[in-house]
């Protein structure tokens, strides 16, 4: 099992997509504690979890894992949902692109499930408007 390859298969396209925006939006992945010093600055958080690995009934391959991808979009509170939803669209487009991959003999074959959300929250104490989507995935390491 190559968990890092699975993680990279999700993280790299997301990072590329948000870096390509003008201006680029910073993306923070698991175990990164840095947050923008200016708390109203917009940013993205991506968390990838692993659930069951090598479930025999999942596919004929034994080198597979399933889990969840959680994407949170932090934008300034009190400015409406438009900016947040624009960034969410970028994230959803990347997730949909993951499903376009074809199964070859090497690398990671990745399929995401239905996308839950977006849900929005803006709590009293927090300076951000938060949009959130999550989805399940099944990844097979082919090499």
């Amino acid at each position: 099992m190559n968990y890092q390859a699975i993680r990279a298969a999700v993280e790299n396209p997301l990072l590329t997509a948000f870096n390509a925006l003008v201006p680029a939006v910073p993306v923070y992945f698991d175990n990164i504690t840095a947050v923008p010093p200016n708390t109203t600055t917009e940013y993205i958080r991506v968390n990838i979890t692993f659930g069951i690995t090598n479930e025999p009934t999942l596919t004929s391959s034994v080198d597979n894992a399933r889990g969840a991808i959680i994407i949170r979009i932090f934008t300034e509170k009190g400015r409406g949902p438009a900016r947040n939803q624009t960034l969410l669209t970028t994230a959803v487009n990347v997730l949909e692109t993951l499903n376009n991959s074809t199964k070859s003999t090497t690398g990671v074959y990745f399929k995401v499930g239905e996308i839950n959300g977006p849900t929005f929250s803006a709590t009293e104490q927090a300076p951000h408007f938060v949009g959130r989507i999550d989805t399940s995935y099944v990844a097979t390491v082919l090499s």
Binding site: D30, T33, V35, N47, T49, F50, G51, I52, E55, R66, G67, A68, I70, G113, T119, S121, T123, Q125, A126, H128, V130, R132, D134, T135, S136, Y137
Partner: protein, 172 residues
């Protein structure tokens, strides 16, 4: 007097309702085990309600089928698909499930569950706790996104299967 076929059909309907209740109990136990465990309030606040039938009793961990509402086993009720809605009754449930930001403070007591993360708080999500060179001031007792991972990572599906297996393995 019920015909043998009628009795068989009724038994099947009871098994379906029983499987639903067993699966709900399995899931509530998993949620209690996977989620944050500090005072035990959150783990003991899972309930299963049956929409249109009634609220479930307020049980506590470990949950059993007795902590789920009885479901009618009539043909009409089973045809409507038995449904139980599991929720947590604490007012901080969304924050504890990492679905919403919140305000967190260490209560100063020792948690009942294992500490999986400790350090200095830097953000408003439950697990926004980073490293510190001094004494840790914040702790978490469940990994980030434990709830979404349980739902999407295969854990809940296993509990559903277990519930069905338990119900159909029983003689009554």
């Amino acid at each position: 007097m019920a015909t043998p076929l009628g009795q068989f059909n009724r038994d099947i309907r009871r098994k379906i309702q029983s499987a639903t209740r067993h699966a709900a109990a399995e899931i509530m136990n998993d949620l209690a085990k996977e989620g944050p465990l500090w005072s035990g309030e959150f783990a003991n606040s899972w309930v299963a309600d049956a929409p249109g039938v009634g609220k479930g009793p307020q049980g506590s961990y470990p949950y059993s089928i007795r902590d789920t509402p009885r479901l009618p086993d009539t043909v009409a009720a089973v045809n409507k698909n038995p449904k139980l809605v599991i929720s947590n009754t604490t007012d901080y449930a969304l924050q504890a499930m990492d679905l919403e930001e919140g305000y967190f403070r260490d209560p100063g007591t020792e948690p009942q569950g294992p500490v999986v993360l400790e350090g200095r708080r830097y953000g408003r999500m439950r697990t926004d706790i980073g490293p510190t060179e001094g004494e840790p001031t914040s702790r978490a007792t469940a990994p980030q996104d434990w709830f979404v991972n349980y739902v999407n990572g295969g854990g809940m599906q296993k509990s559903l299967e277990n519930g069905v297996r338990i119900a159909f393995a029983r003689n009554n």
